[in-house]
Subunit: 330 residues, 2 copies
Amino acid sequence: MPHDIRILTEADLRDAVALDIETVNVIEQAFTALAGGDVVMPPIMSMDLPAANGEVDVKTAYIPGFDGFAIKVSPGFFDNPKLGLPSLNGLMILFSSKTGLVQALFLDNGYLTDIRTAAAGAVAARHLAPAEVETAGVIGTGVQARLQMQAAHLVRPFKRLLVWGRDQAKAQACAEDLATSLGIEAKAVAAPDDLVAQSQLVVTTTPAREPVLKAEWLHPGLHITAMGSDQEGKNEIDPKALAQADLYVADRVSQTEMLGELRSARAAGLWDAGIPAELGQVIRGDAPGRRGAEDVTIADLTGTGAQDTAIASHVFALLGDSAAGTVIRA
Amino acid sequence: MPHDIRILTEADLRDAVALDIETVNVIEQAFTALAGGDVVMPPIMSMDLPAANGEVDVKTAYIPGFDGFAIKVSPGFFDNPKLGLPSLNGLMILFSSKTGLVQALFLDNGYLTDIRTAAAGAVAARHLAPAEVETAGVIGTGVQARLQMQAAHLVRPFKRLLVWGRDQAKAQACAEDLATSLGIEAKAVAAPDDLVAQSQLVVTTTPAREPVLKAEWLHPGLHITAMGSDQEGKNEIDPKALAQADLYVADRVSQTEMLGELRSARAAGLWDAGIPAELGQVIRGDAPGRRGAEDVTIADLTGTGAQDTAIASHVFALLGDSAAGTVIRA
């Protein structure tokens, strides 16, 4: 029995949904639901394509109460830039959680992932950063560096922003872009320790395999969100820092212990605090969060299928009866 | 950088590809490649949606030498018939194995799965059934009962066909359909033991959780393909039959030991023959097949991502420069 399937391109989706406070709230709901215990979220499916220096990840989650669930496919082909193509791509498929019928295809080339990832950073900042953030710093100079700072600014309207990256010219360009988009002072700094020393909120956005943020740089009143690690072998934060911080929070423990900063800390024998809290538990008040202005807190974000289901459902609701996209009867 | 994505509906796909000997050969290639050792095939991703009596499976595989790889999503929502909808749905996505870009979306509602599954049955029959099959029997009366017999007839042009199902009227309808489509004598029988006794080739196509084919029915010169079990808890073949047969062959051991007949035989403590052969190894001559006309052989098919990549790539090649479907620039 054919039914209508709505298909939206990246351009359609950029028109339909933005990285705004509503998106942050939607992603916060995903974290809350995830910690509620009724979400069904299988382990990430991951496949390597060694011949093409490629990989593909599949994520999904069913959140009770949501009309749909998303399946997201994220290919990463790291030789693509040589061909003039971006490394990252992908799409999301939204299914009815009542009938399993395909409702929509979001040919987003990773756009929805970009904004749901940045929104998760804002959720972490909202619940873990000090109440007053005057200076925020970002380590890394790519798309997520920009989006994470835009998202964080929605919940902590800092006045100053620092950028550090291995490539000083890219750091400079990133700072200029953010100064324009946020209308605040933003500048590139020459050294990451200097960035951390001056900031109350730091987000790391790199694919580093050796830590870019050292434990000896931690200082009272600092919150760090590490969002770059999403694969075994990646590591942004000095493993010592996790043990040294007052609080470490995972987006999903079963993922951070495999793919995130927790993996490195455990591998180094530097984690003996048992099972850490998840961000959703802190939001729900089921686990302690920051105790005061002087605490050092770390959030470890690997990205969850629950976020994908939440953003896809949000976009579908926003579209409503609009004429955006193409409808195919299949 | 937007690129063209080709989208085909079930109707488009039914026009483009049929269950013919070419399709059987393509699926045979998938088995050969799988046994060759260079295929990358992650475990099936599976998610339950208990609130809707639903489940969704995701399969994929990278086959070296293929230009693309498929990701297939198969929802099964077993209350759908109450809503006038089919239980099974799904789609396949074909990605470039060089760049990871989406090449095509096949909104097939499970059609491509249906034919690649039936084609796998034909591959098993080609390599394991006795050279002469006069009578074939099918247990089950659904879509796969029809397609499995059509596929088997391509490689073993039997003259007589028997059908058994719990519902005699459905068995009768299935026999009539097959008599028409194959132009041979086909009839429903009252008892499954009678069907097995008269057949040289039997295919079981049920979602049974208790065996529908008993070990005492085995007779010299019989080949059985069990294709119904694809989930823990399903079991079509008496576990004793696996030990008793001269040869048991899996499509993929890592799947049949979790989801197929091998699981039940092992759980019953009736399997002590070590790691069984896979169908691709038999095709390649890397493992022994049927030794003669009197052997009893069993093939256990759970369905592999390699088959999905093979059928999706085959359809994409068949489409070539045709105008079929819709092209979206995304």
